[in-house]
């Protein structure tokens, strides 16, 4: 008995860790892992730019279809350290492609989601607060937009635009990710308007701005974060979808475009797995990271979940 008091048992250690986590919710393992994964992709982009020769993304700068180091391709060629992740069908270095492509894909997702979110916040608050006709218009618009499959419209758009820039693509995708935050925020604002603390704030002589941004907004943060991260995921999926169809930016390497080229060149049949496999893996890492951040943030912002963690 005395011994167990001095050296904490495993259960007690776990208990102490739980308490620490309760007191500082940001020490959430899911959140930390998620952020670490995304930071890893960003760092790959940043450090890669400093250390690696980016001219290798150009066609024909290396031997064609070289495998990663330690593997052999169908022509019995060994991977070489000059191109550690191998090369694609037109002799571009995979590592250089990823260093440029992966942050690009993330950038499109973040930008599209940011624009969509901002639109959603403005429209949602307007609809919830102003009500009446304005509310009707915004609600009908977002309901209609939700029923339209974005990829279908985007394919037409992209095809007619020809070559687009990354920012242009983000803007186009943003046009399809503002509806769900709008509806979500509108619903929350409507229910919060009736809540006791908003009534109390009105009793306290609070201005509309104060009620919106100081009383309601902080309580929306968990929803906003969740919605933002979910939107980043959707935007990346949409962007990659377009790129894989060959409708993305033509001159800028992205993960989706690399996959498109791999499929086009018959990489699946020729067993050039590194060509399509590595970008796919990176996309998977990105999605897992985003998912973990979403789950983690949920626990951070919701004290009830936090208690159980």
């Amino acid at each position: 008995m005395a011994e167990t008091l001095q050296t904490p048992t495993r259960a007690e250690k776990r208990q102490a860790r739980r308490l620490r986590r309760f007191d500082n919710p940001w020490l959430n393992p899911k959140l930390i892992w998620g952020v670490a994964l995304l930071l890893g992709i960003l760092l790959l982009g940043l450090i890669g730019r400093m250390l690696w020769n980016l001219d290798l993304v150009f066609t024909g700068s290396a031997t064609l279809k070289l495998p990663p180091v330690g593997f052999e391709n169908l022509r019995k060629q060994e991977g070489v350290w000059d191109f550690p992740l191998g090369t694609d069908g037109s002799g571009r270095d995979m590592l250089a492609l990823i260093i440029i492509g992966a942050p690009n894909s993330l950038f499109v997702g973040l930008l599209a989601s940011l624009i969509g979110m901002s639109t959603g916040i403005v429209l949602g608050f307007t609809a919830g607060f102003v009500g009446g006709r304005t509310d009707d218009v915004i609600r009908v618009l977002s309901d209609v937009m939700i029923t339209i499959p974005p990829l279908l419209i985007l394919v037409v758009f992209q095809a007619s635009f020809g070559d687009v820039s990354l920012t242009m693509m983000a803007l186009l995708i943003a046009g399809f990710v503002w509806q769900s935050p709008t509806r979500l925020i509108r619903a929350q604002v409507l229910s919060m308007k009736q809540s006791g603390y908003v009534q109390m704030a009105r009793l306290s002589g609070a201005s509309t701005g104060h009620i919106m941004f100081r009383e309601m907004m902080p309580n929306l943060v968990p929803y906003l974060f969740g919605s933002f991260i979910a939107n980043v995921t959707t935007s990346i999926v949409t962007a990659v979808g377009l790129e894989v169809l060959g409708l993305g930016p033509q001159r800028i390497p992205t993960l989706g475009r690399t996959i498109y080229e791999a499929i086009n060149a018959g990489a699946l049949i020729q067993n050039l797995w590194w060509w399509w496999g590595i970008p796919t893996l990176l996309l998977a890492v990105m999605f897992v990271g985003l998912l973990l951040i979403n789950l983690g943030l949920d626990e951070v912002s919701n004290p009830r979940l936090r208690k159980l963690s």
Partner: protein, 572 residues
């Protein structure tokens, strides 16, 4: 039939625990109790005392991660804890039935009543034929005092009282040995509460089962059960027959529970001797004036035209009493300017609320404050609770700097009996309902308004704390000279705190005057009905008899029972 002394439920050394991040919480500790066939046992205690937990453990329906850590539960010879999931499913409803607290949410909203009753039968006795089912569900509905055609209706077509009756019918349809009723009437008003309790008692006597009634209202318990089990912090502190516990309570906690029930005409829990002067007012206009104010929502008249003047020279408490739907809360929100009246004008110190300038509006907000019913919703969950006190204090320009605000908050907390170091820096979810409601009172105190609208301030607070919070509110008038409009359904508290009472029925004042006359000696049939429906913790007082509302109630004219200086209700 079975012998009366047979026990249906025996709890032996029952222990229930909940593992939490902060360690094990003992929800129930070494509880010993047995319930005989045909007996009604009341479990009384505050929220968190373990009364519902105990009852749920009998059905193995404890919320995860709670578990029975020791002891035995014997249900008429069956060891409940040894039963598997499937056996337990068969046991529930057929041998032990549970009538939940919120009948509103317990019925499937997209199914008619009848099939919901049939489902209950079929789950236990598969293959019962359709005519049999129909006959049994009709019988069950009739036995709880509902017409047979109610079975063809959807839950939303029934009133709260009727839904609660359906839940009772569902509970007794398989004639269980034990019925557990978890605060079955807490969502109902007094008149309906009496009818539903009568039904429950009748049906329980008819089928001869044991009944566990969970609640926190000593009056209701005294009128409804045979035995009382008083629980505090998971421990059974006292158990005995109702008569014994009401007349000679042994445990100090039981005594507190009994004395916390306010009784009309009984000793006051307040100290009415001290009188404060009203704060000096710049305006000679009356504080609040209603001029033919009415409110209509679509086809429903929430409030009929009403005119009164509250002078506010001497602080007064005006009570507005009525059942839910009487228009009393509508009146409160009209006074606060949250809800514009359909006709008429509301004047605060001579200024119409509808046409106030922004500056006057801010001044009005400072001078008219409120305490709402739900202490759980009143705090923004994002901020520490001091935000709710600090913000209006600064907003109304009362603050002379950070230190002054802090001092004012601490003083206000002390005045309502809270330790400022303990509560002010907490988040709302870390405080109890009672603590939060006191903080709202402290907030009102800090702002020292001229008028406070208290809308059911204690109806969601544990019974034992009600008197304290009402005393806090009373102090606002007494020590700080704030006039108060007290909106409530509880006539007993209105009797004690108010200077003038208005009884509201379907948007109309039916009886008004000083509380000693209106509540002490009611003349209007509706007021009489309300008062007869209050369950008193007094065994000699008849409560069981008495029916529904008399159809003549609404036709009877308004009865004025005398005037009080400073408040003038226009007779019309």
């Amino acid at each position: 039939m079975l012998d009366d002394t047979e026990t249906v439920l025996t709890l032996t050394d029952l222990c229930i625990e909940f593992p939490t991040p902060r360690g094990l919480v003992q929800a129930v500790k070494d509880l010993n109790l047995s319930i005989a066939r045909g007996r009604r046992v009341g479990f009384i205690g505050e929220s968190g005392s373990g009364k519902t937990t105990t009852a749920l453990s009998v059905m193995q329906m404890l919320a995860k991660p709670g578990r029975v850590s020791g002891g035995q539960i014997d249900l008429g010879g069956t060891d409940v804890l040894a039963q598997g999931e499937e056996e337990m499913r068969r046991l529930r409803l057929s041998r032990v039935a549970y009538i939940p607290q919120g009948a509103m949410n317990s019925l499937n909203p997209i199914m008619r009543i009848e099939p919901q009753l049939w489902d209950a039968i079929l789950a236990h006795e598969p293959g019962v034929s359709r005519p049999d089912l129909k006959a049994r569900s009709d019988a069950a509905l009739v036995s709880v005092g509902l017409p047979v055609h109610a079975g063809r209706l959807y839950p939303h077509e029934l009133s709260g009282g009727m839904k609660q009756r359906v839940c009772i019918a569902l509970g007794i349809i398989l004639t269980p040995e034990l019925i557990i009723a978890d605060e079955p009437t807490s969502a109902l008003d007094v008149v309906t509460q009496r009818q539903v309790m009568q039904t429950l008692k009748e049906i329980q006597e008819k089928i001869g089962s044991g009944l566990i009634l969970i609640g926190h209202d000593m009056g209701l318990m005294a009128q409804s059960v045979d035995e009382l089990a008083v629980l505090k912090d998971g421990e059974l502190v006292e158990h005995g027959s109702v008569a014994q516990i009401i007349t000679a309570p042994e445990h100090p906690y039981t005594r507190d529970l009994i004395s916390s029930v306010p009784v009309v005409g009984g000793a006051s829990f307040l100290n009415p001797e001290r009188r404060a002067e009203a704060p000096k007012r710049d305006s000679s206009e009356p504080l609040l004036r209603f001029e033919g104010v009415s409110k209509v929502y679509g086809d429903v008249t929430a409030l009929r035209p009403l005119s009164f003047t509250l002078e506010g020279e001497v602080p007064q408490i005006i009570s507005i009493v009525g059942q839910s739907g009487s228009g009393k809360s509508t009146m409160g929100s009209i006074m606060l300017g949250f809800n514009p009246p359909t006709t008429g004008r509301v004047l605060f110190e001579g200024q119409d609320l509808a046409t106030m300038s922004a500056a006057a509006s801010l001044d009005f907000r400072k001078n008219v404050q409120a305490v709402f019913q739900d202490p759980y919703a009143c705090f923004n969950p994002f901020y520490r609770v001091n935000h709710a006190l600090k913000f209006p204090f600064k907003r109304f320009g009362l603050s002379e700097g950070e230190a002054h605000t802090q001092k004012a908050m601490e003083e206000a907390c002390v005045a309502v009996g809270l330790d400022p170091d303990l509560v002010l820096t907490r988040y709302p979810h870390q405080l109890s309902g009672g603590q939060r409601q006191r903080l709202i009172v402290a907030r009102a105190l800090m702002l020292s308004p001229k008028l406070l609208i208290a809308d059911e301030p204690v109806s969601m607070v544990d019974a034992s704390l009600r008197a304290t919070i009402l005393a806090n509110i009373y102090d606002l008038k007494d020590k700080h000279g704030i006039s108060i409009l007290y909106i409530t359904h509880d006539l007993a508290t209105a009797y004690h705190v108010s200077d003038y009472v208005m009884v509201l029925y379907k948007g109309q004042v039916v009886e008004a005057g000083p509380p000693k006359s209106v509540i002490g000696d009611p003349q209007h049939p509706y007021t009489q009905l309300l008062i007869a429906s209050i369950p008193w913790p007094d065994l000699n007082r008849p409560w069981g008899e008495g029916g529904a509302e008399d159809p003549g109630v609404q036709e009877a004219p308004t009865i004025h029972r005398g005037d009080v200086a400073g408040f003038d209700l226009v007779k019309g």
